[in-house]
């Protein structure tokens, strides 16, 4: 019997890993409620290996999208891996018009999301070391007095996990936590760079209207940031609205005079509009600004193309010499 207990203890230690997290009430921000439970969060019991689609459906339905795990499975499930990858959960959320935002890896940020009424999708590693068991669940609440996390998980509608156990499994799950936002909503703790990355992802996925709402919200939240304006300009340009694109690029340049991206795109816009001289002037400036930066080669490409166009349409070199009718 003692042996069995010892073995149990050894196993528990193994499964809990070495990450020691404090009890919830020690880490709970003073302003946060002692307990939250988003009881209205829907529940989709998962099929075999389908915790990805089930957890994502839980989040999407909670954010107002009509979808089922069965509809999501063909968008995220990988039979050969018997599971789903977080990148593809992100892609699927975009396809359904939501802005998937990967939270910075702190419990505080998850708690802030719960406070805002949004459940959080988490990746847990329920195994340890060489035997990982990856599982997606949805955090819907916590109780600091009883020191538990409350989850929708797998086939169970409501699972209570001791907070340290939950936090440990999440640490071993590489602290992946995802929220799916209605475009235009920005989490309380969001950083501009991380949020803009998420919004640009929507744009890359072709969700232009949703991306525009996200950029607009970012402009309001971070009025000093040039990137949302760049995004606005790129969207306008993609839709063929040159005037709006020019205005947006000018705002971006005003906010960040040394930023090469907006200048480069302004030069491209001017080229597209047939304003060659001005386009050349802007791209030369962009090229000087981009020297040594990550954008150097992109700007060099633009410059080469603009120069080539300029050469092709250069003025007649014969001056006013007359030619036969």
């Amino acid at each position: 019997m003692t042996r069995l207990r010892l073995a149990g203890a050894a196993l528990a230690a193994l499964l809990a890993g070495c990450a020691a997290s404090p009890p919830l009430k020690d880490g709970l921000p003073a302003s946060a409620p002692r307990s939250i439970e988003l009881a209205a969060t829907p529940f989709f019991p998962q099929e075999d290996f389908q915790c990805g689609p089930a957890a994502l459906a839980t989040l999407l339905v909670a954010s107002g999208v009509e979808v089922t795990p069965e509809a999501l499975a063909p968008e995220v499930f990988i039979p050969g891996r018997e599971g789903s990858l977080s990148l593809e959960l992100i892609g699927a959320a975009r396809r359904h018009g939501r802005l998937p935002y990967v939270l910075a890896s702190t419990a505080e940020e998850m708690i802030a999301e719960l406070e805002s009424g949004r459940p959080v999708l988490v990746l847990q590693n329920l195994g340890a070391g060489p035997l990982p068991v990856w599982h997606y669940a949805v955090l819907i609440g916590y109780d600091a007095e009883r020191n538990v996390a409350v989850l929708r998980s797998g086939r169970e509608e409501r699972v209570e996990m001791k907070w340290q156990r939950f936090a440990g499994s999440w640490h071993r799950g590489r602290r992946f936590a995802l929220t799916t936002l209605q475009p235009g909503v920005i989490p309380r703790h969001a950083e501009p760079g991380r949020f803009m990355e998420a919004a640009a992802g929507l744009e890359a996925a072709g969700q232009r209207r949703a991306a525009a709402e996200a950029y607009d919200a970012a402009i309001v939240r971070w009025p000093g940031e040039p990137l949302p304006w760049l995004g606005r300009g790129n969207l306008a340009l993609a839709e063929g609205n040159r005037a709006a694109a020019a205005d947006a690029y000018l705002r971006a340049i005003e906010l960040a005079p040394h930023d090469a991206a907006a200048r480069n795109n302004l030069a491209e816009l001017l080229l597209d509009a047939g304003c060659l001289d001005e386009s050349r002037r802007q791209v030369e400036r962009a090229s000087a600004l981009a020297a040594g930066s990550a954008l150097e080669s992109s700007v060099a490409d633009s410059r080469a193309r603009i120069e080539a166009t300029a050469k092709a349409v250069a003025r007649c070199q014969f001056g006013d010499r007359a030619w036969p009718d």
Partner: protein, 127 residues
């Protein structure tokens, strides 16, 4: 003969769809995409477009190998940025794939057996 031409049409269609996969470019060619500017602002160097096109084809092949329905692959990849596709190409076989919590029970059993075999514990003893 008819089957042959049908096959040819199929091949043409599939190749076309593969080519169109790589064309996610903005309306004007040389524009720095918002995503590229965001990563540049964070000090990350953006990956070349050529790499992204190769990575897309690469991921497409791998997903098909892993049993994903060919018809669904295009839509799945269209929802990701070039950078994400490149990441996926690197990690598709190794990244955590969240699946089933039930497997835990099996793993506990395996661990118990291993511990038993190496003599750390002795719970499966024959009386």
């Amino acid at each position: 003969m008819r089957i042959e031409s049908f096959r040819r049409a199929c091949v043409a269609l599939v190749s076309l769809s593969m080519i169109s996969l790589g064309m996610q470019a903005p309306a004007i060619a040389g524009v720095v995409s918002t995503g590229e500017a965001v990563s540049a602002a964070r000090g990350e160097s953006p990956r070349a477009v050529v790499d992204a096109t190769i990575a897309r084809a690469d991921v497409q092949g791998k997903l098909a190998e892993l049993g994903v329905d060919a018809a669904a692959i295009e839509g799945r990849l269209a929802a990701l940025s070039d950078e994400e596709i490149a990441k996926l190409a690197e990690q598709i076989e190794s990244a955590p794939a969240g699946g089933d919590a039930l497997a835990v029970i099996g793993i506990v059993f395996v661990v118990l057996i291993i511990l038993e075999l190496v003599g750390v514990i002795d719970i499966f003893k024959k009386t």
